[in-house]
């Protein structure tokens, strides 16, 4: 059996070996995780899966005339011999690429301390799988017991993962931290004369104690699937569309893809060259904050070792910042916003941390009541968004509104528009923000979109 080193020693070995092989700059990340997943369907366990995974990623830069060549590698073989070999291979691979004048480690100041962002509760390590499976059983029973029309399900699933991330670079930065994520998901299937429907509900958090109660998850999943039964189609029309807090974050996801520094410098975003311009109504403020305690997108330092921070992306309707790592920042002659992402298998990129739309004053019910005729979207499918042009067209299902009241479920329709217009046409923002991931939004109404149906 090969002997392995502690995380910091592995990261430092990779950096040292790549330097010795001729790299002018190196960084390395070691991600270790333990995870368990299990699904219960009706009264039976469907599967239980447990795993331990470790992966080391190395990026080597080899200085050239006015720039550097670069390559990255990853390996799940962490024996010292394998690390040595991979470090040398990384440098050899870098030598085969072209000199990029922009390539390099950040010039900004690295994180000087590692704040505790409450991303992990050590006590959760002691909770055994059986206890978590009981949560899945409770959610499944609550969903299945909610109504006789729920006679089937895809099951209720739990997941827990504990990770340790260690990152270091040849500029002298080293940092590490532990994180965890726990989830519970329930997906019942309901039957009526109109056919089968499925829907789901879930809860996800850094600490087990922050999860929603299992029976509440099951009941909410049941409520959501039952309201879809008997769904009809609507005639093709132009009407207001309300996104609920489950579907609205997808709009922020599209915004993120358009303010990503790489899309901006490549001119593959409709928001390239729009910094400082009004892109949304004054009621709209979007914030990215990697330091939010317990946040699912929080991290004490970013994928290049820079401190994470709070960034106003949209400030009262005005595009106030892109999301940048050091590379895309240099391309745009800006500074990194501490938004570098880094997986073991890729060089740094830019991405959001915790990103949300600031809530407004009105409840979803009030927004519905003020809608003469329109659609409340509760599920979206398909990938019809083009960040280059902003063209948007996706499949949708939801609830139809007539005279300010929900009259019944609708499905098999598409909603379409141009994202630039859609943002400007936001005329109501709810107070009901819901954190179901690292991107969160309250309900949002767009005053008009094209709805295609019968």
């Amino acid at each position: 059996m090969s002997v392995e080193l502690p995380p910091r020693a592995t990261v430092e070995r990779a950096i040292d070996r790549a330097r010795r092989a001729g790299a002018s700059a190196v960084d390395a990340i070691l991600i270790e995780s333990d995870s368990v997943e299990a699904r219960v369907r009706a009264a039976e366990i469907d599967f239980v899966s447990q795993a331990r995974q470790r992966i080391l990623g190395i990026r080597a830069l080899v200085a050239g005339e006015r720039g550097a060549r670069s390559a990255c590698t990853s390996t799940s073989d962490l024996s010292p011999e394998a690390v040595n070999q991979m470090a040398a291979e990384t440098v050899a691979l870098a030598r085969a690429t072209a000199v990029d004048p922009t390539a390099g480690l950040p010039e900004e100041a690295f994180a000087s301390e590692i704040p505790d962002l409450a991303l992990f509760d050590p006590a959760d390590r002691d909770v055994d799988v059986e206890t978590r499976i009981q949560d899945a059983r409770a959610a499944e029973a609550a969903a299945r017991g909610a109504d006789p029309r729920i006679e089937n399900s895809e099951g209720s699933q739990i997941g827990s993962s504990f990770s340790h991330i260690a990152y270091g670079n040849s500029a002298g930065f080293f940092g590490d931290y532990a994180t965890a994520a726990h989830s519970l998901f329930s997906e019942p299937v309901a039957r009526s004369d109109g056919g089968l429907q499925r829907d789901y509900w879930y809860t996800v958090a850094r600490r087990l104690s922050d999860l929603e109660a299992p029976d509440a998850v099951g009941r909410e999943a049941a409520r959501r699937v039952l309201r879809r039964l008997g769904a009809k189609r609507v005639a093709t029309c132009e009407a207001p569309v309300i996104f609920d807090p489950v579907t609205a974050p997808s709009l922020l996801g599209h915004l993120i893809s358009c303010v990503n520094g790489y899309a901006v410098y490549r001119q593959s975003s409709y928001l390239a060259d729009k910094l400082g311009e009004t892109i949304a109504p004054a009621s709209m403020t979007v914030i990215d904050d990697g330091t939010r305690p317990g946040g699912l997108g929080s991290k004490p330092f970013d994928g290049e070792g820079l401190p994470t921070r709070r960034t106003l992306v949209v400030d009262r309707g005005r595009l106030s910042s892109y999301l940048l790592d050091s590379y895309s920042a240099r391309k745009l002659e800006m500074q990194s916003t501490g938004n570098a992402t880094r997986g073991a298998g890729s060089s740094p990129g830019a991405g959001s941390t915790n990103l949300w739309l600031e809530p407004g004053q009105r409840s979803l019910d009030e927004i519905i009541a003020s809608t003469e005729r329109g659609l409340l979207v509760t599920e979206l499918i398909g990938m019809g968004f083009n960040p280059v042009t902003g063209d948007y067209s996706r499949g949708a299902a939801g609830l139809w509104i007539e005279a300010g009241e929900i009259v019944g479920p609708v499905e098999e329709l598409t909603i379409a528009g141009n994202f630039a217009n859609m943002l400007m046409d936001i005329d109501a923002i709810g107070s009901d923000i819901l954190w179901l991931g690292s991107t969160a939004s309250p309900s949002v109404r767009i005053s008009k979109m094209m709805i295609a149906g019968e």
Binding site: S76, A96, G195, D391, S393
Partner: protein, 485 residues
């Protein structure tokens, strides 16, 4: 002398590198069988992947990844226990086996069978000269640089060229508690080209094409091959600059041959996967023998096509792949099965048990899914449409398996007026209902084509490479989403 059979090569590889000979495999399985289970298996994987990418005229980065690990699985009734580790040692295997067998409550031991076999496969669908990950990086860099120069020379409106090649070489070994030993070596290559075009008014559009399969990397280096791919990417980007918004509403749609077969994948294929049908959560549950498509429509899933992206000698449970007829002359006749769901439904596995990697449990998945050719002339099919749209290429798609509702985005489309192809359209989405959509097929062309080898299918968080195919078909009364009236 070294064997050229991929299965035999894989068996020697895991024996020589990790000490996994017949005795070790039997010992590890024995540990999984310490409780009463219906079946247990071990899945070993060693995958090397490399890629190089070009943008702004230079190959800015290269990458190389090594992934190794083993998964131990047990099955009892409909329960599955799974444990995986990236350390391929006998000690870790026994530990994983103890975790996996914990789903069984019965203490009585299952009798073990000695693992033996050469791992040789009855056929090799992807014979190659050189592992794609062993092709020198300089050749890959050279290809991308040539593509960049060529693309920029095609049209002055080409603003950005992004191109990448990805090579993968996967070695797998599967040992089952029935004593079976299966193995495979699977090459996979892919070339992607993305063009951003910009017109005089500063309006930008994107054109994308990709190709690949389980074949030698050298096929991508053939000048005529990659040039055609670049030409297509440039053409689509420029076409989109001139496109007008797609109208919304119900209309007749002609689908072009090849990649639009993604319709079958989304609308039909997923709904016929064994797991959803065993659980009765598919819109197609219990409908075998019923008419779900127009007469003349025959849809198959075929994992045995040479060199295709979706093809496999054996699936990830060791079952040889096959051609499975899903719909014959409009009648639903088959499901796609892995071992677990086949056993629970009293059917035979169809070689569709696939997984993303050793870190994932197998599920029923598609391979290459396509509709067989009909007799109609594609030109005549277009002429038959008074008013509608002609959809030639697609972006992504998605289906709700339970309700049967599907959607996909059209990346190249034209309006049809009085049987003639008119202006290009952008931003179109097609939506429909799986069990209904193929009953709307009114014409089937004789021009079956398979896609270029770019499909990746996602299910339960697992991605696997797949293929699709279609002849030109006409669909009557499909809902099209767009922004125009």
């Amino acid at each position: 002398m070294a064997s050229s059979d991929g299965g035999e090569v894989a068996v020697s590889f895991f024996r020589d590198r990790f000490g996994m000979d017949d005795r070790s495999l039997t010992r590890a399985l024995d540990a999984a069988l310490e409780r009463e289970v219906d079946y247990a298996d071990l899945y070993f994987e060693y995958t090397v992947e490399d890629s190089v990418a070009l943008e702004e005229g230079i190959v800015k980065s290269g990458s190389r990844h090594l992934e190794q690990g083993v998964g131990v699985r047990t099955q009892i009734a409909e329960r599955q226990g799974y444990a995986h580790s990236d350390e391929v040692t006998i000690e870790n295997l026994e530990l994983a086996a103890a975790t996996a067998r914990a789903i069984s409550e019965s203490p009585s031991r299952t009798s073990a069978v000695a693992v033996r076999g050469s791992g040789a496969n009855a056929r090799n669908l992807y014979p190659i000269e050189t592992a794609p990950t062993e092709v020198p990086v300089s050749e890959k860099v050279g290809l991308l640089e040539a593509i960049d120069v060529y693309a920029r020379g095609r049209d002055p409106r080409v603003k950005q060229v992004m191109a990448s090649v990805v090579s993968q070489y996967q070695t797998v070994l599967i040992a089952g508690s029935d004593g079976s030993l299966s193995a495979d070596v699977r090459p996979l290559v892919r070339l992607n080209v993305q063009i951003i075009g910009e017109d005089a008014n500063g309006r930008r559009e994107i054109g994308y094409q990709g190709m690949g399969g389980r074949h030698d990397f050298s096929r991508l280096l053939e000048t005529a091959t990659w040039r055609e791919l670049v030409d297509e990417s440039v053409r689509i980007a420029m076409l989109s600059l001139d496109a007008k918004p797609c109208p919304a509403g119900t209309m007749d749609v002609v689908l072009g041959p090849g990649w639009p077969g993604i319709l079958l994948h989304e609308a039909i294929g997923h709904g016929l996967e064994g797991d959803f049908n065993r659980k009765q959560t598919s819109a197609f549950s219990g409908r075998i023998g019923e008419r779900v498509a127009s007469p003349g429509v025959t849809v198959v899933d075929d994992g045995t096509l040479e060199a295709r992206r979706g093809s496999l000698n054996i699936d990830d449970e060791g079952t040889p792949t096959q051609r499975t007829t899903l719909i014959e002359d409009g009648i639903l006749c088959g499901y796609l099965q892995d071992r677990l769901n086949a056993r629970l439904m009293g059917m035979k596995p169809t070689g569709n048990g696939r997984r993303e990697s050793y870190a994932h449990i197998p599920m029923p998945r598609m391979t290459n899914t396509f509709m067989l050719a009909g007799n109609d002339d594609p030109e005549e099919i277009l002429r038959s449409v008074a008013s509608g749209i002609y959809a030639v290429s697609f972006g992504g798609g998605q289906v709700d398996i339970t309700s049967g509702k599907f959607v996909f985005s059209v990346s190249e489309a034209y309006e049809i007026e009085n049987g003639r192809i008119g202006a290009p359209l952008k931003g179109a989405t097609l939506i429909g209902n799986g069990p209904d959509v193929l009953t709307r097929v009114s014409r089937i062309g004789g021009d079956l084509e398979l896609d270029r080898g770019v499909g990746t299918c996602g299910k339960d968080g697992q991605s696997v490479p797949v293929g699709v195919g279609l002849p030109t078909i006409r669909l009557d009364g499909i809902t099209v989403g767009g922004t125009a009236r």
